[in-house]
């Protein structure tokens, strides 16, 4: 492995390049096969030993599948709708209706951009109040028509800007938390990339919470935590480790129900495969939740969040 921990992917990239070069020339197929085997082994080794900070980088990888990618792979008849009917349409959150394995449903998720132009349009996946309010509007429509809700979480956090504050960023998130706790339809949450603080939680209160293997979920970004507690943003790797933000830790702390495996080189190495791996989890969650009758569904959701936290009694 390279000395710089953020360059952990280098051996994989080097091997791939080597294979490509050999494949282009007249190389011995046995040699290529040998390299392929080596690549598989190295990839597996690297990706099963990622540090929390490396996982943060994987979770932010620009080729990682985003909400619209998952929707494209997993849902049929996707039709996006726009706006909060109050102020604007926030492109950092997409919302709409679709079918999942034939079942009509609402789908909501943070959306990041891949190139500069898209990133700006999507505001780097950082929602403003109108994004959370749009999400809630669609969730309430889903409740009205008794449709299950799927949400995809992938944001650094809610946008910290002047306009966002003026229009009540905190209020928008708070109302979503309260309303989602009581919605009378199943809510299935998938944390697919960055679960960044209140901006993530604002669409992440649900009955089943799934988390991709290399996704992170955190109360504040590692950089933010490092800046405050270590007084030094370069201590982000230490903060990432200390805050226990990896899927395994988050599951151990009782926050997510299941960890969804990713392809050997991470979701970004094979987005269709990543969606394929997520599909059975969504199917099972939907199947199980549709059997739950009201008011049990809402009661169970309450109990789920009621249990969260760790303290001692003196």
């Amino acid at each position: 492995m390279s000395a710089d921990p953020s360059q952990f992917d280098e051996p994989i990239i080097a091997l791939r390049r080597q294979i490509d070069e050999l494949s282009a020339g007249e190389a011995d197929p046995a040699q290529i096969e040998e390299l392929q085997r080596k690549l598989t082994k190295v990839t597996k080794e690297i990706y099963s030993n990622l540090t929390p900070w490396q996982k943060t980088l994987v979770a932010r990888h620009p080729q990682r599948p985003y909400t619209l990618d998952f929707i494209g792979f997993l849902f049929e008849d996707w039709t996006e709708v726009h706006g909060d009917r109050k102020f604007a349409d926030d492109a950092a959150i997409v919302a709409g209706f679709a079918r999942f394995r034939g079942t009509p449903c609402a789908v909501i998720g943070h959306q990041k951009g891949r190139n500069t132009k898209e990133k700006i349009i999507r505001n780097f996946g950082q929602p403003k109040p109108e994004g959370f309010r749009k999400a809630l509007r669609i969730m309430q429509l889903a409740e009205k028509f008794k449709l299950p809700i799927f949400t995809f979480v992938d944001t650094q956090g809610a946008y910290p800007g002047v306009g966002a504050e003026e229009r009540g960023q905190a209020e928008a998130i708070a109302v979503n938390l309260r309303e989602m706790a009581a919605l009378k339809v199943p809510i299935i949450v998938s944390v697919v990339g960055e679960g960044g603080s209140g901006g993530a939680l604002g669409i992440a209160v649900g009955d089943r919470i799934l988390m991709l293997e290399h996704a992170i979920y955190s109360v504040i970004s590692p950089e933010g935590c490092a800046a405050i507690l270590w007084k030094n943003a370069t201590a982000a790797a230490d903060a990432a480790a200390a805050m226990k933000i990896t899927a395994r830790d988050i599951k151990r702390l009782g926050i997510v129900d299941e960890i969804v495996p990713e392809p050997p080189g991470g979701a970004h190495s094979d987005p269709p495969k990543s969606a394929e791996l997520l599909a059975p989890y969504l199917e099972r969650a939907l199947h199980d939740l549709q059997k739950l009758k009201l008011p049990m569904l809402v009661e169970e959701r309450y109990k789920k969040f009621r249990r969260m936290g760790a303290f001692e009694k003196a």
Binding site: A170, I173, L177, G202, K244, R301
Partner: protein, 281 residues
């Protein structure tokens, strides 16, 4: 010319230096005047010169609001267990010990039952001196228990927020307290019980983005800093200095986020009046 011909006046004796006993005077953080501590205390910890509201600790807040300063503390036996074994430049559990010794064992909130104007209520008063009033599992559990108690006993709830937000040292567990408390508040609301959120300086981050903004009524103290993102974070994002008064209570009222701004001296009568409105008394 007179001004340089003027003879120097003999030095007048300066005012006799009086030894001021430590803490007899306090400096107002707003108008910078030195004010007599007793006078400030008698004035609800508000500067008699400029009206600046000094921060109250949780017990002072409860004393201020409860009839005869009488209340019974709830769930006082809950302590943080350092679930992440968190360490930054110091261990979290060591920090906790220091705060418990310095501030008390109630973590960052004291919940208590008692009466306001003869009406039984539960008040949760946040304690800023305990790690910046940050919300971890203990704050989440204590407030949730308070909400559930209100539902059981059909009593109104008042939360006085004073907090920098979620507690980083408990990571994701702190974040989830926002959802936990908000879920409980959904039930309180469904039960038709009043919840008054009092926002004091400062109320930011995860506390604002959950219970502080879910009141039937939002009452702020004058000039309290209230927001989601801290002003420094916003300045770094937009790379501009923020205008005077941004994220202050008056700014939030102008933008429709709070119902009223009430000076501390009027806080108790105002809450009492609304409780009687809401309870149809």
């Amino acid at each position: 010319m007179a001004w340089f011909q003027k003879e120097k006046k003999p030095k007048e004796p300066t005012e006799k230096q009086v030894a001021i006993p430590e803490g007899l005077w306090v400096k107002c953080e707003e108008c910078k005047a030195a004010v007599y501590r007793k006078e400030v205390e008698q004035n609800f910890n508000v500067c008699p010169k400029c009206g600046y509201h000094f921060r109250l600790n949780a017990r002072e807040r409860l004393d201020l609001l409860y009839d005869d300063q009488a209340y019974k503390e709830l769930a006082s036996n809950i302590r943080s267990g350092d679930p992440l074994d968190f360490r930054d430049t110091k261990r979290y559990r060591d920090r906790l010990k220091v705060y418990e010794q310095r501030v008390g064992k109630g973590d960052a909130v004291i919940c208590a039952e008692g009466k306001i104007d003869g009406i039984h209520v539960v008040i949760c008063a946040m304690e800023y001196n305990f790690m910046g009033g940050s919300m971890g599992s203990v704050v989440g559990e204590k407030i949730t228990l308070a909400v559930e108690r209100c539902i059981d006993r059909k009593e109104p709830l008042i939360i006085v927020s004073c907090s920098g937000g979620a507690r980083m040292q408990e990571g994701i567990l702190s974040l989830m307290q926002m959802a936990k408390i908000s879920a409980a508040l959904a039930r309180l609301s469904e039960a038709g019980l009043p919840f008054i959120s009092v926002l004091t300086d400062p109320t930011t981050g995860g506390v604002t983005a959950s219970y502080a903004m879910l009141g039937d009524l939002h009452i702020a103290e004058p000039k309290a800093l209230i927001g989601f993102a801290g002003p420094r974070v916003i300045e770094q994002t937009i790379r501009q200095t923020l205008p005077e008064g941004f994220q202050r209570a008056e700014f939030l009222m102008e933008h429709g986020m709070i119902d009223l701004i009430t000076a501390r001296a009027d806080m108790k009568p105002t809450i009492g009046r609304f409780l009687r409105f809401f309870l149809n008394k």
